[in-house]
């Protein structure tokens, strides 16, 4: 089970294109087909740049994906 943190749209926008570490970027995504935007615990725990310290205050929660398409069903 993955842990993720929910983001507001503004928070999402502030992280898009920003580095977690060198050559590693945040990748906010929608939780399924609807809100909220989420980021993973790996991004939160490995962020090294001070301007993103605020993400450590986000609440982690279990992520239950809406049954993603399997490899065999992706055309």
């Amino acid at each position: 089970m993955e842990l993720v943190a929910a983001l507001t749209i503004n928070q999402k926008d502030s992280l898009v294109g920003q580095l977690v570490q060198p050559n590693w970027y945040f990748n906010p995504r929608l939780s399924g087909d609807t809100l909220p935007w989420i980021i993973s615990e790996q991004e939160i725990n490995n962020s090294i740049y001070p301007e993103h310290d605020w993400i450590r205050d986000l609440t982690l929660q279990e992520y239950n994906p809406v049954v993603p398409p399997s490899g065999s069903t992706i055309n």
Binding site: E2, V20, N23, Q42, Y63, G71, S72, N75
Partner: protein, 454 residues
């Protein structure tokens, strides 16, 4: 008065300033009339007065001995010629010469008797010039030395430039040498890589990018990886590859074929370790920035090494797809023991191979070697597993290859999975033997690093 000797010959002084030779009368001379006696009167009457004819012409001897000694010592400067006049002596007449009735014969450079009364002038020593050396005014050697020295110096200095001339060719040679290697190195480096230099360049880039854990073992294994790829003729068949060492996003991002070009960009939730990079199945993927349009439709391979056995994963492991272009290239390594590949496929779906031994780990290679006849070919652990005659697409995607998921139109990434990877490559189609060799090389590399799965 004790007899005096002059160089072993007995003399006695006359008037305190000279010497008179011991008189040895010759009876024959004595009985001659005076008119027949040459020089007798002058000898008797003048006594100690030196006969003018006795002035020895000794000037020749000093001149030659001076010239050679001066010449070399004057070589530095040409202005010191005046000082060389001191030793030239020359005109010193033997004013103190004590010889009576002997004269200096300039014809044979010897003392001779001036009359028959004196029987022995043969051994009279030549007066040394040292006593009254006042010859400075007449030292004609000075002007002689000046031009001589000057000329000699000029000649002597000439070799000095010749030394310079010797040096001159050296730079010339160097220039020639430096020009030669420049073109020779460039082509050799670009056309015939050994793998060692390329590996070291890669390792340096890994470190420069913040990679860690690059031990001597890792370095040696990396050099072996590169040299084996080159030695087996695979270097030119691989367009991009990622050995994924360095233990973090910086180190693992480096592209092996040409560091700095197509370096990976990790996105989302990754976990990095010495084993490789593991996605979270939620939002993790790595972008190669290598566009499908850069590949050849029917001459293509893609390989990926998974180090995480997992039969529950249902995501897509790598690839691109485009509905608008009607082309897709993607792998899913394991979905309940089933492998699926599509390689520049025009229709939906995958060529599949199902086997209970497939745990989703190891080296997977998919390729297309022709439009239809050989279709899509799947290799796992270096062994061909399936061949599909699925027709190739007429187009390729305008999307960039990713792994950990699949990239489709409009920069949408989908099919995230949580597998772990430590090698990824894209290139031209390989033969069965080449595929087996490449898989073996990569597995050996991972075995040395302790992250292999078979």
């Amino acid at each position: 008065m004790a007899p005096l000797n002059w160089k072993g010959r007995p003399y006695r002084p006359v008037g305190g300033t000279g010497f008179i030779r011991v008189y040895k009368p010759d009876i024959n001379e004595l009985i001659k009339p005076l008119s027949m006696k040459a020089g007798l009167g002058s000898a008797i009457l003048t006594g100690n007065v030196v006969n003018p004819r006795n002035v020895p012409a000794i000037t020749p001897s000093p001149t030659p001995s001076i010239t050679p000694s001066v010449t070399p010592t004057n070589t530095p400067t040409q202005t010191n010629t005046p000082t060389n006049t001191s030793t030239t002596t020359p005109t010193n007449t033997p004013t103190s010469s004590p010889i009576v009735d002997c004269y200096w014969n300039t014809n044979n450079d010897n003392w001779e008797n001036d009359s028959t009364l004196w029987n022995d002038c043969i051994n009279v020593p030549t007066p040394t010039p040292s006593p009254t050396n006042t010859s400075t005014p007449t030292n004609t050697s000075t002007p002689t030395n000046t031009p001589t020295t000057t000329t000699t110096l000029t000649a002597t200095n000439t070799p000095t430039p010749s030394t310079t001339a010797t040096l001159t060719p050296s730079p010339t040679t160097t220039v020639t040498a430096s020009n030669t290697p420049t073109p020779s190195i460039t082509p050799s480096a670009s056309s015939a890589p050994s793998g060692t230099t390329e590996a070291r360049t890669f390792l340096a880039a890994v470190l420069a990018s913040g990679g860690t854990g690059v031990t001597s073992t890792v370095s040696a294994a990396t050099e072996t990886l590169f040299t084996d790829i080159v030695a087996n003729g695979l270097w030119d068949k691989i367009s991009i590859f990622y050995p994924m060492i360095g233990g973090n996003s910086g180190g693992m991002s480096i592209q092996g074929k040409s560091p700095g070009t197509n370096n990976l960009q990790f996105n989302g939730g990754w976990t990095f370790s010495s084993s490789g990079a593991t996605g979270n199945g939620t939002n993790a993927y790595a972008n190669t920035f290598y566009n499908d349009n850069q590949t050849s439709t029917n001459d293509f391979h893609m390989g990926i090494y998974s180090f995480k056995p997992d039969i529950t994963n249902s995501g897509v492991d790598c690839g691109v797809g485009s509905a608008s272009a009607n082309s897709r290239t993607a792998f899913y390594l394991n979905e309940v023991t089933q492998v699926g590949i599509s390689v520049h496929r025009s229709n939906s779906g995958y060529a599949t191979w199902t086997d209970v031994s497939n745990n989703g780990a190891g080296m997977f290679v998919g390729m297309r070697t022709g439009s239809t006849s050989s279709g899509e070919v799947l290799f796992w652990k270096g062994v061909q597993r399936s061949v599909s005659s699925q027709a190739a697409s007429n187009a390729r995607c305008d999307n960039q290859y990713v792994f950990g998921a699949r990239r489709i139109d409009n920069n949408v990434t989908e099919g995230y999975n949580n597998r772990g990877y430590n090698f990824f490559c894209i290139g031209k189609a390989l033969t069965s033997g080449e595929t087996s060799t490449l898989s073996s090389i990569i597995n050996t590399f991972n075995t040395t690093l302790g992250r292999n799965t078979y």
